[in-house]
Every structure is written in C-alpha cells, then in structure tokens.
C-alpha cells in the first residue's frame, strides 16, 4: 500500500513539474527585469544631473529623462526632445525647435517653458551646478517663440552647446517646484523610458518601465515603451567580483569589465562582448617643464623616444587597449595622424639626446648630471611618474627607461594629493585624462590662461601661438574647420614634447546572449536602452 501511494505521489509530482516546465517553455516568456552591474565608482553622490558633475550621473539620468539631443554611436547628433536646432553664424545665438506631443511622467506637458525652467535652474547660483552650468554656458537671454521654439542668446560665441545639451536631463517643472533642490534627486521626473523607483545608495538603483513613453529619442527604433519591465543598476566595489559577476547569472550586463577579466568573455560564445574606445586624451602624462630635468626639451624628447607603447599594450593588456600617440588619442575625430611618427621608438637617439643634455652614462645604470644648469653635478637622472591608477603602465616604462639610463620613480596618489601637487607645481610627470569627442579639451589643457586653480593647464608652457590656436576652438562651429585647428595645435604640442602619451583605456562590456538591442555610445562610457530586450 505504502509503495503504491509513494508511486502515485511520484507520478503526480512528475506530471505537475512537466506541466510547469511546459508552461514556461510554451509561452516564450521574456525575462522582465534587466540588471546591469557597473563599478561602484560610477555611482553618483546626487542623481540630479543639474547638480552632479559626472558622466555616470547623466547616463543614469538618460534612462529617466530624455535630453534635447542625443549623440549616436557614430558621433552624430540626433533629435530627441528637440527636433531642429540652428546656430547663428557668429555662434552667439541658438534656436531650438521642440518636439510636440510629449508629456512628462507626471502628466506635465513638455514645452519651451519647461526647457527654459530647466536651463535657468542649472544656471541659478543656489543650484551650485558643478559642471553643467559651465557647459551650458553664460546664456544672456532665453526667449520663447510659442510653445515649441526657444532662442538662447549668448554674449560670446558658444559652439559647444550641443555637447552640453546631450547630457542635460530635462526635468518636469511640476516636480521641480514640488521638491527642494536637496530632495529632488529621490523624486526624479522626466520623459524617459523608466521612472525612478528606488535608490539604495552604495547598492543599487531600480527603475520601472513607464508605459506612457513615446520613444521621443532619435535612438529609439520604435515609438512606445521599452520591452523590459524594470531596470536595476548594481554598483560593485570590487573588480574581482565585477569581472566574474556575469557568470553567476545575477546580472544581464556588466558595463566596465575590468581588463583582467576580459578573457572570460571576449572569445566566449556564451556571451556578447563589446570593446569601445573612449575619445579624448588617453592616459596621458603631463610634463612639468618649469624645473630640471624636464625644462630641457632634449630630455622630454628622450622620454618620448625611449618607450615602446605597443609592447606595453601587448604585455599588460594583450593588445586590448587603444593606441594613444598624441595629445588626442588615436580614435578622436580630430586626432593628428602624424603624431605617431614624431617620436618612433629609438633608444639610441634617446641616449644621444640625454648625453647632449649633460646627463652622462657613468656605468651605474642611471645617468648623472654633468654641467646641467641648475643641477648639481652627480645628481642622478630621476623623473617622478605620479599616477592615480594604471600603475602597471609605469612599471613597464620603468624598464624601458632603465635601458636609456633614466630612473622612473612611480608614485600612486589619490585625487586630493594630485590636486595639491598640481597646485604647488610639485611634479614632473602627472597623470591627466579628459574624455570627450570635442577638441575643446585641447583648450582646457594647453591654453596657458588655464594655468590657475581649477584649471587643467599644468605644464607651464606659454606660447601665444598655441594659446591662440586652442582658443579658436571655442568659436569655430564647423567640425572640419575645428579639427584643422586642433591638428595645428597638436603639432606644436608634440614638437615641444610637452606630454607623454601612453595608452587609451576602452570600455569593455559583456552581456548574456539573450540580451538584444544594447547600443553603446560614441564615447564608450555611454549606452542606450531604448531598444533593449531580453529573450528566454
């Protein structure tokens, strides 16, 4: 009897289990929750992009609030909440035509007044906007022409407005009025595909699909809500965990796979893998030319001639990092192609230059000063290499430079120490990186007027010709013309050997095979989810 009962029970259980499995398979069920893991350093202090100055904040905002324009993966601006835009010939007036029929997630209609309120909020002193206020620029006047057109007038040419607007979230004026500045980032309301549900700081952000979304973004393939029901972004503090997280099945996408773990996904048929370069300066080292030994151009040129970055890339990253041969890295739209040939690896020439500069080889392995102005004879040739991360690049370079008799001393420093050293001009090679497809970063780093607190011009080089060239980048609207000017500036910088280019760090993204429609942005550290879906 007992045997018969347990046999019946077993058959019933098997039957029920089969039904459950069949139900699951039969419906073609789509996973509803998209989970993305990113480094904990990507988590902002405030989710309000008007206040917080980080790319990751604006990226997270873009899931909740469409911007006025978007930069597509090919580097072209597409309409989003703005359908047309025009910049006057003098660069001082922008006219924006807005999309009609858009509403915010709380039902507030989107119109020119809403955009005006957002821009004024960014520029208001009480907002204390750390970055967007500078990027949007000194708008002198905003005028409305009906409900869907507005004009921004500046007192100075402002050609980079689109770059600012693509990052600027447009928030609901109703919500902005309802919540205080300090409280608003917990109650974000935009026009984007998701609404903010929960933010547990240092852990995750959860957003829920907004069924009222109309696909008001040039990246959306279809009008209407996205396919996934919710989006959870998890912030992971440890590289070793982030690198292997995808394999646990707890997440669908890892954005920012650490280089050490790329091998797990790059040739693995079980995953999709993307490597995207980030246009900008690359991981460059700025030279302080105020003091010996780098005040001598021969020593600076020797540094550039004495290294082999292709070998560094192979040794450390299996060639996965991107080349960066000049002040703009090799994937930047305005990169000067000739930069790579200015200082090809030539240790013999490097040694000759050092000898000529008075750094003699005494057989000890490190050259000593002999008749170098401002340096006591017998002083060893040491150069400090001050870095925030990627110490391993310096370690390989140490070996290269030992070969030419130079002692590279690596010091890993935190951000506050970096700023302090820069302020006191107490450095020789200092890490600096800017990520942007705009050549305007050349003005920020190489215009000597920015050699002041808050500025990025650290090298100490003053050249009116270079200053004038990079200054022009702020007022030339045409992309091709701007690149031509940027190239001329790069020639001077390379000729004077003012910086040591190393490599450029791509963004590595890995995802499960059932994730479709993930689109990475032109800059690498941006992506779009308008067309995302997850299949069974």
């Amino acid at each position: 009897m007992l045997r018969r009962t347990s046999s019946v029970r077993r058959r019933l259980f098997t039957y029920a289990a089969s039904l459950a499995i069949a139900a699951g398979l039969g419906t073609g069920a789509v996973a509803q929750d998209l989970v993305i893991a990113m480094p904990a350093s990507n988590e902002p202090a405030s989710l309000d992009g008007h206040i917080d100055p980080y790319q990751s904040t604006w990226l997270l905002n873009s899931f909740i609030a469409d911007p006025l324009v978007v930069l597509n993966p090919e580097g072209n601006y597409l309409p989003a909440l703005a359908t047309e835009w025009e910049n006057s010939d003098d660069g001082m007036t922008w006219t924006l035509t807005l999309r009609e029929g858009v509403t915010f997630q709380d039902g507030t209609p989107f119109n020119a007044e809403a955009v005006k309120i957002n821009l004024e909020r960014i520029l208001a002193p009480e907002t204390a906007s750390a970055q967007l206020a500078s990027d949007v620029g000194p708008i002198a006047e905003i005028t409305l022409d009906g409900d869907y057109k507005l004009t921004l007038r500046y007192d100075t040419p402002w050609v980079t407005l689109l770059d600012a607007l693509r990052r600027t979230p447009i928030w609901s004026p109703t919500a902005l009025a309802k919540f205080s500045l300090d409280d608003y980032d917990k109650h974000l309301v935009g026009t984007g595909p998701f609404t903010l549900t929960e933010w547990v700081q240092n852990d995750h952000i959860t957003m829920t699909r907004w069924d009222g979304y109309g696909g008001w973004n040039g990246m959306a393939a279809d009008p209407g809500p996205v396919d996934v029901e919710s989006l959870t972004v998890r912030f992971i503090g440890e590289d070793a965990v982030l690198g292997q997280f995808l394999q646990t099945g707890e997440v669908d996408i890892v954005f920012g796979v650490p280089p050490l773990f790329v091998d797990l996904y790059s040739d693995n048929p079980d995953y999709k893998f993307i490597s995207k370069g980030q246009a900008g300066t690359g991981l460059q080292m700025i030279m302080n030319i105020r003091n010996p030994p780098l005040n001598d151009i021969r020593v600076r040129r020797a540094l550039l001639l004495g290294r082999d970055m292709a070998a560094v890339n192979d040794i450390l990253y299996d060639g996965l990092y991107t080349a960066s041969d000049g002040p703009l890295n090799n994937i930047h739209p305005c990169y000067w192609e000739g930069a790579a040939s200015v200082y090809p690896k030539d240790p013999d020439k490097a040694r000759a230059l050092l000898e000529e500069a008075g750094w003699v080889d005494d057989g000890s392995g490190v050259r000593k000063a002999s008749g170098v102005e401002g340096v006591e004879d017998g002083t060893p040739l040491t150069v400090r290499y001050s870095i925030l991360h990627h110490k391993e690049i310096g370690e390989v370079l140490q070996a290269h430079y030992r070969d030419i008799g130079l002692d590279l001393q690596i010091e890993v420093i935190p951000g506050p120490v970096q700023l302090d050293m820069v302020q006191r001009r107490d450095f020789e090679l200092m890490y600096e990186r800017q990520r942007s497809p705009s050549p305007l970063i050349l003005d920020q780093i190489w215009n000597s007027k920015w050699d002041q607190p808050g500025g990025w011009a650290w090298t100490g080089y003053v050249d009116p010709e270079l200053d004038a060239l990079v200054e022009q980048l702020r007022s030339i609207g045409d992309d091709e013309a701007r690149c031509e000017v940027a190239i001329e500036a790069q020639k001077i910088i390379m000729d004077q050997a003012l910086m040591l280019p190393t490599l450029s760090q791509p963004i590595f993204v890995a995802m499960a095979n059932n994730v479709e429609g993930f689109q990475i942005g032109a800059e690498g550290n941006w992506f779009f989810l308008q067309n995302i879906s997850i299949s069974e």
Binding site: A40, A45, S46, I51, P53, Y54, Q55, P125, E126, A128, A130, Q131, L132, A133, S134, D135, A164, L181, D182, V200, Q201, N202, D203, H204, R234, F235, I236, G237, E238, A240, V241, Q244, F245, Q247, T248, G249, E250, P414, G415, P416, V417, L419, D420, M421, Q434, R435, S436, L440, I441, Q444, W450, Q452, P453, G454, G455, W456, A457
Partner: protein, 311 residues
C-alpha cells in the same frame, strides 16, 4: 553603580570633544580642496576661477576655520551634524541610512567569532597540551592571520561563483550577510579562541574546580556550569572591544562585498574631503564605541559580584 555610570558619561564629554577637534584638524590639514576636487573630477573640464570661488562660498568653505569648527560643534550638540558637501543632504540622514547595515554586519561578524572562537578555546583548554589543543590553536592562528581582503575573495570564488550558494555582492537579505560575516568573524574568532583558552586554563586551576570534580560532577558540568561563567569575565571585555573594532573596521569587507555601509562612505568622503560627513560620521562612531564600552563595564559588574563600582 548609578554614580559610576553618571561619572563615566561625564567623562565622555572631553573625549568626544577631543575626537571632534582631531578629526576637524586632520581633515583640514590633508591636501585637497573639496570644491576643487569636485570640479577637477568632473567630466566637462576646466571651469573659470570665479566658479571655484562661487562654489567654495556656496559650500561655506570661505569662512575662517575657527568659525567652521564652532559652527560644527554647536550644531552637533543639538544633534545636527551639518550637510554633506558631496551629497547635499543632512549627515544624520546618511548615517541613519548606512549604520544599520554596518551594525548588522558587525554583529553578525561577532556572532560568527563567538560561535567559532568559544568552542575552539574551550576545547583547547579542556585538552591542554594534547593534539586537540594544538589543532585548535593552529586554526585560531590561521584565522586571525588571513588577510580580510584575500579571505573575502576566496569565499566569493568558492561559495558564490562556483557553488552559487550565496550572493557575491550587495546588501540584500540574510544570505548576502553570510559570507561577509564569516570573513569578519574568522579574524576575531582566532583572537577570542586564544583568550578563552588562557582564561579557562586559569579558572580550571582554581581550587573550587577541584572541589567540583571531587564532588563527583561530570567534566562537562564542571566546565560549563562552574568554569565558563568565571572564564567569561575577561572575554566579555574583549568581545566588547572586538565589536567596536568591527564597527570601525568593516570597510575592506564592505568594499569586497559591495555592501552599503558606513565604512565605505567615510573612506570615499575622506578622499572627496567632505568635511561635515567625515567629522559627523567619525564622531557618531566614537559615541557608539564609548557607549558599547560603558555597557560592557556594566555587564562586567553583573557577571562578577565582587566588582562594585563607585565604592
């Protein structure tokens, strides 16, 4: 006892004042300017110098140092620890959102430490100089020597990535607490095991223990009923100190397991030179730490009737 407790509470005042002064001074001595750090870390690039001045004014950083400290102190006495420069929300809100997770992790770590350390120490003491003693003490040394970072990653590799028993990261539910608690607890377990062993050995050598045996009581009853309570007196003190250390020292574990706790918040705030947050959070932890020690002292008196405070 009442007079003793009041006296101890009054002693806290100069201690906390000194801590607040030291933290304030150290934070302002460290290199870096919070406004500059925020702007230089931003993605857009250089800003005009007047923007920097503006931001410093908005952050209240242009006031003289004594005024900044006085403002902090007077507000702190009223329970207001100021607003974080980075997060722009009250420091008390940030602490309130993080501290429960930190306390939970510390308590869980302590529970693991006691659960492992006590049996190890007692077994070692009961089998002094035998192979059990050697084995237990070896395990305790291994436990307290393993680097937290390494141990945490090892546990994640085995139990999360390979066996999929526990999550590898996040605050989550009870399952997410297991691995970090073991990581923290093993370190303290080693310390506790050695202390319990030496304390038990002292007690086991006492005359009353010999009397208990002579009365015919079993070894188990002698050990647990007569020996353990007396041996626990110094151990209770150590547990209290361990809890304080765990509260303040979980930052590495929090980072490895990506837990939303106070330690990580303090470390990142130090790097960002978020003065109010660092000052407020450290002061808060100091209050918690000294309060725990006070409670331990009171418990001590309850455990040992020979101890009378204030007499």
């Amino acid at each position: 006892m009442g007079r003793y407790v009041i006296g101890r509470i009054l002693q806290l005042i100069p201690v906390l004042f000194l801590i607040s002064l030291i933290v304030f001074a150290v934070m302002h001595l460290l290199p870096g300017d919070p406004a500059l750090l925020m702007l230089m870390g931003a993605e857009g690039g250089a800003v005009p110098p007047e923007r920097l001045v503006e931001l410093r004014e908005q952050m209240g950083l242009n006031d003289p140092l004594w005024m900044q400290y006085f403002r902090f102190l007077t507000n702190a006495l009223q329970g207001d620890l100021g607003a974080s420069l980075r997060f722009r929300v009250p420091v008390t809100d940030l602490i309130a959102s993080r501290f429960p997770s930190t306390a939970t992790l510390a308590l869980a770590g302590l529970a693991v430490a006691v659960a492992i350390g006590m049996p190890l120490g007692m077994a070692a003491a009961a089998h002094k100089s035998g192979w059990v003693d050697t084995l237990c003490m070896t395990l305790s040394y291994i436990g307290s020597s393993m680097p937290v970072y390494w141990l945490g990653l090892l546990l994640i590799l085995l139990f999360s990535f390979n066996l999929r028993w526990f999550p590898s990261a996040g605050g989550g539910d009870f399952r997410a607490l297991v691995l970090p608690a073991i990581t923290l607890g093993l370190l303290s377990a080693g310390v506790l095991a050695r202390l319990i062993r030496s304390s038990m050995l002292e007690v086991l050598a006492e005359d009353y223990m010999r009397t208990a045996h002579a009365k015919g009581l079993s070894s188990r009853i002698v050990l647990w009923r007569h020996g353990l309570k007396n041996a626990m007196i110094p151990v209770v003190t150590m547990i209290g100190l361990q809890f304080g250390a765990l509260l303040a020292g979980t930052v590495v574990t929090e980072t490895v397991f990506s837990r939303p706790c106070l330690g990580r918040l303090i470390v990142t705030s130090i790097l960002a030179k978020d003065y109010p947050l660092v000052q407020g959070a450290v002061l808060f932890l100091a209050v918690v730490y000294v309060t725990v020690n006070l409670l331990i002292d009171i418990l001590y008196a309850w455990l040992d009737p020979r101890i009378r405070y204030g007499h």
